[in-house]
Symmetry: C2
Subunit: 305 residues, 2 copies
């Protein structure tokens, strides 16, 4: 059972009304219409102790921050403006009010920083054994342009990413900045065809854009921005391609729009062109020696054994 | 650490803008403004194996249904119209696709029945030991009237409930019908001052209305509608007052509006007047022998030891 198969199965179970639900299952957020003018987007992310964080090493503030930041990254992935969040927690037995306050401090730090107030929640406790689970659901609204989806990549598009990739497990996955502001700035400068955030690794998430858009892609290995933390690993390129939780933006746009973006971009977080969308229907990578190899989704799958 | 103390603490941490967030922490749902005309409400509910259901006896369809129904009951509690839901799950190790499909079937059964489509979600798995956790977040919109809050009860109000109370743990807590339609019909007939759904037991939830409204209440014990399942218990009145997960509506309204509601109510689910809001600042109960006794919140507290 793979995550994408299950998501696809869910999507097929019910036909959503495109009037009521313009964007349904399979994107970073769903969009719900509220009349002819207004709409709202929603995402939910569940973080488990031992899977998405480890309470042996992470502080509760970091866990609270990461929980919010993961959903904020979904808002960024569609270039939308965060509105509000609700947080549900399942607490291990014997938790103190102080522990809940520490977790809350991390949530509120992210909420304040990204102007996304915490407006409600649910607090419950495991009976007997049970580890901490935090589930954030977040609302956003479209920015100046319609939300950017995963399924619009076109043959000939440039593939771009923000920041640098790989090595997130060392520290970044607990402290990353969701690219909310960068996404809005990018879409102010250029028209994007597709975008998502890299949560499961570049190769896995690019494969999602390719599959949903019905296209292929070729990545230029020497262009991939590799993080300092990934450079310390045995295979930095592999880390940049396949590790998860970068929470950077992955987007495609026409060559003309890319030129425009690249010229006008004036922000401390870089944007880098790393390849192009192709009509091959599969993912490839041009290695530094010039050879073309197949690129397979090698990132994290939440459900694969 | 008690649930209401923690909720109160959370509420005090940040001042929410009444323009952007007309209803914040402490009601059944929060309301977020989307411009001068539109708004949306949101709730989140986390259900844990061993706390809210027991996979030794409950089917996965029942768990999926209950997860949705609990949030639908929040929509009902404010007399709002369900719009869409997202569902996040944390799966025990080794789950099969079939098990996920069974859970999904229960979610979709409730979604279809109450016209609240599943529009997205998050699937993740525990590493090592971990029990099933399901978190539903749901959006609604106001019905014909503004959402009914907890804090509007007035001295002299009649206290009403739908259906019958107690004994839910036997079967009803897995199969209850959220009172979505009843809430909308009640508010079409009468103007309510306060409402919530009874999730933690009548005494505990009435105390929340009293505390938030700054009033007291007196319940007439012989008027409390006791469910058939509660009648089999050692103390049926205690079960009706203090057991949780009835998921019936608890509301207050003027005597005049109550008369109007009671005369015009034509629905298989009964509404019953069970007492009155007082200026005593505390909860009391008139026993069948005429004696007045203090009524203390005795329902389920998710955080009390």
């Amino acid at each position: 059972m793979r995550e994408d198969e299950i998501t696809g199965w869910f999507r097929q179970q019910r036909q959503l009304s495109p009037t009521d639900v313009p964007i349904g299952i399979g994107d970073d957020m769903a969009q719900i219409a509220l009349g002819p003018e207004a709409s709202v987007l929603i995402t939910t992310d569940m973080l488990l102790d031992g899977t998405h964080f480890d309470l042996k090493t992470a502080t509760l503030e970091q866990v609270g921050y990461k929980s919010m930041a993961a959903s904020l990254s979904d808002c960024a992935a569609m270039a939308t403006i965060p509105l509000a969040a609700v947080v549900a927690v399942g607490l291990p037995p014997g938790w103190s009010g102080r522990q809940l306050q520490d977790l809350h401090a991390g949530v509120v730090f992210a909420a304040d920083k990204y102007h996304c107030p915490l407006v409600g929640g649910d607090i419950t406790s495991w009976q007997g054994d049970g580890r901490l689970v935090v589930c954030v659901s977040m609302l956003s609204k479209p920015g100046g342009k319609p939300p950017v989806r995963r399924n619009g990549a076109k043959v000939g598009d440039i593939i771009g990413v923000t920041g640098s990739l790989g090595g997130s497990g060392r520290r970044k996955h607990l402290e990353f900045e969701p690219r909310v502001n960068e996404a809005l700035e990018i879409t102010q400068i250029a028209d994007l065809h597709a975008m998502m955030d890299i949560s499961d690794g570049l190769s896995t998430d690019l494969n999602r854009i390719c599959t949903q858009s019905g296209v292929g892609a070729v990545i230029d290995a020497s262009s991939v921005p590799i993080s300092d933390d990934a450079r310390h690993q045995a295979d930095p390129l592999d880390a940049a391609l396949n590790e998860g939780e970068d929470f950077e933006l992955l987007f495609t746009l026409s060559a003309e729009q890319w030129d425009r973006l690249y010229r006008q971009w004036d922000h401390p977080v870089p944007v880098t062109g790393i390849g192009a969308i192709t009509d091959t229907g599969r993912m490839e990578i041009r290695m530094p020696d010039g050879r073309i190899r197949d690129l397979r989704p090698g990132g994290y799958d939440h459900l694969a054994d």
